[in-house]
Symmetry: C2
Subunit: 220 residues, 2 copies
């Protein structure tokens, strides 16, 4: 196991170097970059579709859509009006890493965008360890998943700056308690900014769009 | 990367040896063992709670509840009437492995149980590579997750023998299509046995319980 751990450390330290380099490139252009993480099925692609549709006439958005197999998500995002959508198929790997981002970054015209949104692989564990050079991680959780998730997957909630609670239209169909999920999340990370949304009904999305625009505006 | 891959291969081959040893121990006692895998929040613990409550007077069930942090799941399963519930807290690792099972197996009185149920870490990617010595993997998916999950996480659906579709009481609240999820799953694995259940309403659970009992009966 010692050998495995030392290789992991080496991989992570190489990843951090590449991520710092990516961060430098993005900063130089005044670009905001967000890394979206969650369980499979929490609604990362739905949130990105809605975001793209709402903001495409106001902001220039670039997207990187990571997936284990298939380019389904990238295709959905292109259909939602994405002009710069770059798929990454990890081919089995359980997370995106900085090397994968470095490889596709030349495909994205960084001087033509204001905001870079990266959709990670659906996984609440592994992506938390890999810095992609983003400004912050946004963790999604949905009301159908159980309000104990922040306690059970603390690494991800600790390393995220924002928590988006999706599927609030389904509140009441399970024992999910909105107050409890926030308490659980803030026990792990007292600084978490929280949005409550339904990508299906649109509820709460305006506050999310407004915040994204203010993030970009703060760079200019 | 070559170094990383060779270490991974070595880890997996050591895991397979330990898993074969576990499988031998279980077979010798005529025990059936199932490894439950899914995204976080699909309802693994709920399904195990219901299963335990329903079968505890007919079958002697042992449970291993894996989690990244917390013993929440193990505590829920004890409260549901589990007499043999062994938690494994992986402390950050994204999957259970055979070494963790080997370590806790002496805590479980194998000659006092008929059925061993292992709840893996919530993760649709990594646990697929780690044989725990089980007879089969049972993959859960819930109707709130999206019917494309089998295509997006094919490794898990390929290596599972059974797919339990949970939260059927919420059908109609999203675009999830029951026919399509089965087609998608069977494109990956034509042999998958499918159960449709709601742990909340109890719908479909009888067929699941019946199948578990027939599995155990077949060993005697």
């Amino acid at each position: 196991m010692t050998e495995k751990i030392s290789v992991e450390k080496k991989v992570l330290s190489e990843n951090d170097k590449l991520a710092a380099d990516i961060r430098g490139q993005l900063k130089q252009r005044g670009l905001v970059a967000l890394n979206f993480v969650s369980s499979p099925g929490s609604g990362k692609t739905s949130l990105l579709e809605k975001t793209l549709s709402a903001l495409k006439h106001e902001l220039r958005v670039g997207l990187i859509a990571g997936d284990v197999q298939t380019e389904n998500d990238a295709n959905r995002l292109k259909a939602a009006g994405g002009t710069i959508v770059q798929p990454i198929v990890t081919g089995g790997a359980c997370h995106l890493d900085a090397k994968m981002i470095t490889r596709v970054l030349p495909e994205i015209a960084l001087d033509k965008i204001d905001l870079l949104l990266i959709e990670n692989v659906g996984n609440l564990v592994c992506p938390s360890s890999y810095d992609l050079g983003e400004d912050m991680k946004v963790v999604l959780i949905s009301t159908t998943e159980g309000d104990d998730k922040p306690l059970k997957y603390p690494g991800m909630f600790r390393r995220s700056s924002v928590m988006v609670i999706n599927k609030i239209d389904l509140l009441g169909t399970s024992d999910f308690d909105m107050k409890r999920v926030k308490e659980n999340a803030r026990r792990i990370n007292s600084e978490l900014k929280v949005f409550e949304v339904s990508c299906r009904t649109g509820q709460g999305l305006d506050a999310w769009f407004h915040w994204l625009k203010s993030l970009v505006a703060a760079q200019h």
